[in-house]
Amino acid sequence: MSTEKEILKVEHIYKKFEDLSVLEDISLTVHEGEIIVIVGPSGCGKSTFLRCLNGLEETSEGHIFLDGEAVNPLSKNITAIRQKIGMVFQSYDLFPHKTILENVIMAPVLVQKRKKDEVKAEALKLLERVGLSSKINNFPRQLSGGQKQRVAIVRALIMHPEVLLFDEVTAALDPEMVREVLDVMLDLAKQKRTMLIVTHEMAFARAVADRVIFLDGGHIVEDSDPKQFFDSPRTERARKFLSTFEFEEK
């Protein structure tokens, strides 16, 4: 696995909001095709970590490199870097004033200056793959949460990103819609996409991850393969965290 090319390199980043320290000395190397699942209690800094990776948050210290290029929200090339990092949010955030198709083709046409016809053809293919080709002319409000989230994933994919970030993408969904979104992500995993996934779906994490990172209190507490992490976590904190997902029978 580590023979693959390094795509993303995070070196000793810190993130502080005024006095509150959210991330402390995080370092991580992501290789091409690797799927990393990040878990941890709420408030542990996992969303902030993802947001630092594409420069939505500025790090207080440390460096992030994508393909050897520094990620810096204040630099001029940040928009170019963001095109290489796809991100999907918990609240989908489709653009409400655009149709589904327009949502998908907007950024490639506007930002990447690609040809509209070509982008449209690709969009149709991708939307078909996630089972939404009948919805292309609808507006986001006419879709269910699960459908919207699938569109949001397509909207990120069509930019041909090198890395995909998923920030608790199923957390806002009704239980019966979680599966349809996870299936799309499983499909992406099979295609050997490089992904960083923040999630609370432990069964999914176990199935899809190459590595599981357990964040707590702004630190990486564990970084191991899923079997090791879920079956025999090394730290007491991880054990305690995992136990919150279990119920004892009466």
């Binding site: 991100m87 409400p96 930019m159």
Partner: protein, 218 residues
């Protein structure tokens, strides 16, 4: 009511309507331009200019158009700024309307969720693309009812033009009443012509309101 009198007055009112509509729409276009620029200054908190924008908005929202027109038309020439009555009307309506539009558009801009901005940034958009394609269109949609209300308000305010001797509908009616005492006929035509000018806008406004709301909120 004397139909003969009505018929003879008709061309005068038609002239006046054309003038009123022309100045009105020019003024409203200017108001939109001022409103968009001013609200962008406030939204992006541009240093110095946003403070100027705030003062401008407060000054023009808290004074009557009639007073603004008197100041521009009679007061400013003293300092050497002489403009025709027509341009004065356009400027007055544009400045008054700009302050209303700015407030309306700004509250629309502020209502666009931060997550919309972030997901556009995550797609690699720059600030200009973000503002033009994502934030401004949504701000417009949410503020359509208030924008329509502003347009109707401004069209009504054109009735103040008569005070600076523009031969608008109001001026024509007043003139005819003063000259011939055909009060009933003049007032009747005045009302009819304002209905002609404003009812379509009001109806179209309600229609656009429904449509814009439907588009975003369902």
């Amino acid at each position: 009511m004397d139909t003969e009198v009505l018929r003879s007055y008709l061309p005068l009112f038609r002239e006046a309507l054309i003038l009123t509509v022309r100045i009105g729409w020019f003024g409203i276009a200017l108001a939109f331009a001022i409103g968009i620029i001013t609200s962008a200054l406030l939204h992006f908190k541009v240093p110095v200019l946003s403070a100027v924008a705030k003062v401008y908005i407060e000054l023009f929202r808290n004074t009557p158009l009639l007073v603004q027109l008197f100041f521009i038309y009679y007061g400013l020439p003293v300092l050497g700024f002489q403009v025709s009555a027509e341009w004065c009307g356009i400027a007055g309506l544009g400045l008054l309307g700009g302050s209303y539009m700015a407030e309306t558009i700004r509250s629309g801009l502020d209502a666009v969720p931060l997550s919309q901005t972030e997901s556009a940034l995550a797609l690699g958009m720059n600030k200009r693309q973000l503002f033009g394609s994502i934030v401004l269109p949504q701000a417009f949609s949410t503020s359509v009812p208030a924008l329509v209300a502003n347009v109707i308000f401004l069209l009504k305010e054109t009735s103040m033009f008569s005070a600076i001797s523009l031969m608008d509908l109001m001026f024509t009616a007043k003139d005819l009443i003063g000259l011939y005492y055909d009060t009933t006929e003049a007032l009747f035509l005045l009302v009819i012509f304002y209905v002609i000018m404003l009812l379509p806008v009001s109806i179209a406004g309600s229609f656009i309101e429904k449509k814009a709301r439907f588009r975003i909120f369902g």
